[in-house]
């Protein structure tokens, strides 16, 4: 028998990354801006998406790709606003992968879309390592979850280009140290765009929509 070392130097997630790149090219060819939205369950991803649809749907055609373990509750909620939504049920997988997005794109009218928001499975860990072909990763932390989440889950806070702190209307009720949070983010992810909002009450939503509008326009230019 002979022992041989064979160099591979290969990305483990090569298959996912290749498909993600194909997705990226599809988005580019149709001029669509894509946000991969991460957070824990209950932080307000769907509410934030609804608030953004309210602000942006007059000027832009939006579609939402919903990722959940089970149920199509979220996709139905989005559809009720007249916005196209595709539900992906992972059946137990804790994150979305690019192959699932690729299939979802086949049922969307890409020719007539400006913005796609992918609501990833509610999870602060697994989705981080999986490229879906998006322009940016965005992350929502809600005030009731606590200001120490960046310390406990640095990865998701670092992966996000856009960080939203939601439910700021509840600041008087919870012990959320905004200074400590801001300080931690300045070390973990100093280049992140940070927006503090209340998706349901409206605070900060216009400014957030404006920032996204600028990104959509910049991609088209």
């Amino acid at each position: 028998m002979a022992h041989h070392e064979v160099d591979m130097d290969q990305a483990i997630l090569q298959a996912n990354d290749k498909l993600a790149q194909k997705n990226r090219e599809r988005f580019m060819s149709h001029g669509i801006y894509v946000i991969n939205l991460l957070s824990s369950p209950g932080s307000g991803k769907t509410s934030t998406i609804l608030a953004l649809i309210n602000e942006l749907s007059k000027a832009y055609k939006i579609a939402v790709i919903e990722g959940d373990i089970a149920s199509d509750v979220d996709a139905q909620t989005i559809k009720e606003t007249g916005t196209a939504a595709v539900q992906i049920n992972t059946g137990g997988l804790c994150h979305l992968e690019s192959k699932m997005i690729s299939k979802a794109l086949d049922v969307l009218d890409l020719e007539n879309l400006d913005l796609i928001i992918i609501e990833n499975v509610g999870n602060l860990v697994c989705p981080v390592d999986f490229d879906l072909g998006e322009d940016i990763k965005a992350m929502i932390l809600s005030v009731p979850e606590g200001d120490d989440k960046p310390l406990k889950y640095p990865g998701v806070f670092q992966a996000a280009d856009l960080l939203m702190v939601n439910k700021i209307d509840t600041l008087p009720v919870f012990d959320f140290d905004t200074e400590a949070f801001d300080s931690e983010i300045s070390k973990l992810n100093p280049q992140a765009e940070v927006h503090k909002i209340s998706a349901t009450k409206g605070e900060g939503v216009k400014e957030l929509a404006e920032w996204i509008r600028n990104q959509i326009e910049a991609k088209r230019a």
Binding site: M1, A2, V6, D9, Q10, I12, C126, V128, P154, L188
Partner: protein, 119 residues
């Protein structure tokens, strides 16, 4: 949790290469994983224990080289190794930095037992 997906990808890739080389067994799998990823060694080991059963890698050893984060400051040009929790330049304090290392999720190499008449 997602270490299972990751380990499944590893197994697919290494088995394909092992078969291309007509290997009898895979003796070792050498991975390179950056500190900035969300991969946990224990979970990876556990996933490997489960997934290697009945494959060419049944008796293989899994080695993981961890890569420390390494960045370049775009303001002063300093390059520096750092912990995942602080990305700022230690020389000038700038937050405008570019990450050069630390996000690896790679199969570096595999070690194969190839019968003499096949190599």
């Amino acid at each position: 949790m997602h270490e299972f997906s990751i380990m499944q990808s590893v197994m697919e890739n290494v088995e394909r290469v092992a078969k291309e080389h007509h290997a009898r067994r895979i003796e070792a799998i050498n991975l390179r994983i950056g500190d900035m990823t969300e991969v946990v060694q224990d979970s990876l080991d556990f996933a490997f224990e489960v997934l290697r059963q009945g494959t060419l890698a049944e008796d293989a050893t899994l080695h993981v080289e961890t890569i420390k984060p390494f960045s370049e400051c775009l303001d002063c040009g300093n390059t520096f190794e750092h912990e995942r929790t602080d990305l700022r330049c230690p020389a000038c304090g700038s937050s405008i930095t570019k990450q050069l290392k630390g996000h690896e999720l790679d199969i570096a190499s595999i070690e194969l037992d190839i019968p003499e008449n096949q190599s």
